[in-house]
């Protein structure tokens, strides 16, 4: 059933696939993010409880959702790499990791910026922010582990194991942090939970999620190409590409 995927275990094939997909993902990603953000910022109605501050949702929720899906994608790539010994899968995993770390970071910063007007403090140890912080640690751990190895084959396998350990732990961490939070429920009741949204608020939110996903996809394609180039740097097809690239820029 997966035979059609087999050619993409070859780095050259995958590189050119990324090249073909890149313009679509970048243009669409940018366009959808801009469209959805402007819609959410300027055209969506206001929230009666949180006034205009709720609009942070249009960047906080997409990045939070993406952070979890990117980690899962990273773990899937790790699994495929470890079980079927596919080098390109490990490259995909490491291409995803910095993107995941970045969107997790954005979700933390926007969460804090949302918390300040709502709770009165920039940081609050609530269930969601704490889970995001731990997710951030998991991403940074996988990246640090990969960078600690000289031999990138070994590095991929080690980082892959850590990614999988992390993904199994994610639901456990999530539920234990939620349980911890109910135990220590402070006087401040957070209103960052999933509000029941009217469609005029929901549509820009869904579109934002799509836009961020597409933009992350575009950056993933770029970084995947970089991983491939780095590993295959001495191959003739890479050399030919480099020459073509310099000819193009000189021609400009």
């Amino acid at each position: 059933m997966w035979k059609w995927l087999h050619p993409y275990a070859k780095t050259e094939r995958t590189y050119h696939l990324c090249q073909r997909l890149l313009p679509w993902f970048s243009v669409l990603g940018l366009a959808v993010i801009l469209f959805a953000t402007v819609w959410g910022l300027a055209y969506a109605p206001t929230d009666y409880q949180q006034s205009e501050a709720y609009r942070i949702i249009y960047v906080h929720v997409p990045t939070a959702v993406l952070s979890k899906s990117l980690y899962s994608a990273m773990a899937v790539a790790a699994f495929i790499g470890l079980v079927w010994q596919v080098k390109t899968s490990f490259m995909a995993m490491m291409a995803l990791a910095p993107i995941g770390a970045t969107v997790t970071f954005i979700s933390l910063v926007t969460g804090a910026a949302w918390g300040k007007p709502m709770w009165g403090t920039w940081w609050e140890w609530d269930a969601r922010l704490t889970s995001q912080l731990i997710l951030m640690f998991l991403f940074l751990g996988v990246i640090s582990l990969y960078k600690a190895f000289e031999d990138k084959q070994q590095a991929g396998k080690a980082a892959g194991v850590m990614a999988i350990v992390g993904v199994i732990n994610l639901p456990i961490i999530h539920y234990s942090v939620e349980w911890w939070n109910t135990l220590h429920q402070g006087a401040t009741i957070l209103k960052l939970g999933k509000p029941s949204m009217p469609p005029e608020m929901l549509w820009p939110l869904l579109l934002s999620i799509l836009g961020w996903a597409l933009a992350s996809g575009a950056i993933f394609l770029l970084r995947m190409q970089n991983e491939i180039l780095q590993r295959e740097i001495k191959r003739p097809w890479v050399v030919a590409l480099a020459h073509k690239n310099s000819a193009l820029s000189k021609g400009k």
């Binding site: 910022l41 970045t102 770029l222 970089n226 180039l229």
Partner: protein, 101 residues
């Protein structure tokens, strides 16, 4: 448009700092990530090309030294021939000198 004017839009009901801080940091982080990925690609291509020139330089240097060795060897054998020839003519001269005396 939900807001009456641009000022209302920027002010965000008093929460302008937090809203724009959020979207600003999101945009900035995404931009930095995207630029880093783009520049890495350029750097990798430059690295490939400089490695190529370096290899070419090493190759031509190796060829030159090999060629130099060959010509040095050729010179040596030519010089050896010359000195051998010179010796022969010197001994021949001695013999003729000896004979005339």
């Amino acid at each position: 448009m939900y807001f009456e004017d641009i000022n209302g839009f920027l002010d965000m009901g008093g929460y302008g700092l937090y809203v724009w801080l959020s979207f600003g940091s999101g945009a900035l982080s995404l931009l930095v990530l995207w630029l880093d990925s783009l520049f890495s690609k350029q750097r990798l291509f430059t690295q490939v090309l400089s490695e190529q020139t370096r290899q070419a330089r090493i190759k031509s240097a190796a060829e030159k030294s090999a060629a130099a060795e060959q010509s040095a060897a050729a010179e040596q054998s030519a010089a050896a021939e010359q000195s051998a020839a010179a010796e022969q003519s010197a001994t021949a001269e001695q013999r003729t000198n000896g004979e005339t005396i």
